[in-house]
Symmetry: C2
């Protein structure tokens, strides 16, 4: 691990990342010494920093520090946390031009069952409903208690992911993934302007659809509409794409479009 470029695993208790969750993060796969979709990840990190008015470290600096970690270990999952930095003065109001803290780590990849990719996974409806906060929606920030509470709702290892609705019962996302449904050859993914995290695999799927002439709409929909979808799939940067084979007693055994998207996501390099 590197903290501001220095090997270590400690941060100051004056760091606003700890005090207020005042920071953002990215999780990305490293395969054979290569960071997957680095330009997209950096762009998103930068956008999230801008949204919170945190000064985003230069791409070259982060890239070089990640390379130092990758030299020791060519495969794994890299995590980048950028906090607003340390502040000795008490209070929520951030001081101007703070120096952000960079926390970079590289840990071994988890092996997911191969059936997650072929047969699909079980998805479970969470009780927790996501709050509407347009000023934070889409951002991968460090205020993740909703995800923590939702993830704590089940322990059955057969359930791979939890489905999150918002306080108005719109479908939003998985606890750690974005969601798409397929109906009559069209893709649909929830609008994330009030809550949820807009991940880069979601962005890649939307671009794939545009390139391949597959209609893809970003809009609101509820559970009833999701349950009559032809297919459902989940995406994120670490897992890739998992089709859903079960949700709320409904089963899906064929995932032709999900499989096409999965193939493309795995083989395209941007």
């Amino acid at each position: 691990m590197l903290i501001n470029g220095v090997p270590g695993d400690q941060v100051s208790v004056h760091d606003r990342g700890l005090l207020y969750g005042d920071g953002v993060f990215r999780t990305l796969r490293v395969i054979g010494g290569c960071m997957q979709y680095w330009p997209r990840h950096y762009r998103k990190l930068q956008q999230d920093c801008v949204a919170l008015r945190i000064i985003c470290p230069e791409a070259a600096l982060l890239f070089e520090e990640l390379r130092r970690l990758i030299e020791q270990q060519p495969d794994g999952v890299a995590k980048i946390i950028i906090t607003r930095g340390e502040q000795m003065v008490r209070g929520y109001a951030p001081v101007e031009n703070m120096i952000p803290t960079r926390i970079l780590s590289l840990t071994p990849s988890l092996d997911y069952p191969s059936s997650n990719y072929s047969r699909g996974v079980r998805l479970r409806l969470c009780d927790l409903r996501l709050a509407h906060q347009p000023k934070l929606a889409g951002i991968k920030h460090l205020n993740r208690l909703e995800n923590v509470l939702a993830a704590a709702e089940w322990t059955d290892p057969d359930i791979a992911e939890g489905l999150l609705l918002d306080i108005f019962d719109n479908v939003i996302e998985g606890v750690r993934s974005n969601l798409f449904m397929v109906r009559n050859g069209e893709l649909f993914t929830p609008n994330l302007s009030n809550c949820g995290v807009a991940g880069i695999q979601r962005e890649r799927v939307i671009e794939w659809a545009a390139k391949h002439g597959v209609p893809c709409r970003v809009r609101q929909f509820g559970l009833a509409e999701l349950l009559v979808a032809d297919e459902i799939f989940l995406v994120n940067s670490v897992i890739g794409l998992w089709p859903v084979h079960e949700l709320s007693g409904r089963n899906w055994n064929h995932h032709p479009i999900s499989m096409q998207v999965q193939k493309w996501l795995n083989h395209a390099h941007d």
Copy 2:
């Protein structure tokens, strides 16, 4: 500062307090070697831990550690942060029975202008609207980005506090304080079942009112109703009670009931 009872100012980057804002905190005044309202603070800390299913450290342990800090410095503001603890496994789902991290600090008190207590303060309506999350409402947890964004909305030092409404335009609280209004000799304070932090000074005011036969109702109200109040006041554990002398162009020059409550808050010991 004491981290798990050991002098220091660093925590592990694997601490879920940093990774997800997965923890709670208290801020309390220490005057002449005494922690103000310790039993109430501990009770609230315990309630907040229970709500997040964090194992709350024993009162005796925290009390003893605070005493060690107070020996060095008899006056100031103590902050207690309890996080769910360190977790080496990646992921939102908390491991069972984690050992929480205790972060205790004692810093000098800020001196607020004495006019804040007598003449009152300027309150400014924030643009940010608080999201509704009943599963987190009332808890003083570490997911404080809404407060950070709201506090960043103004820099004018004449404005002492920001007023927060919720997404349905109900009045909720100050950025770092709870709010009361006075109308026809009655007190009103917002319902915090969907958002906001329920502080211990708010609880003390509600009890004061009950003891003194002053009606005090917890209910929803909007800005229009607040602006025609006879008095408004703000409370928290560090500032005590500040009357409001200005909000959105409206001025208040007399605060008879606020002053009574202030006097009682300052002199009662529970």
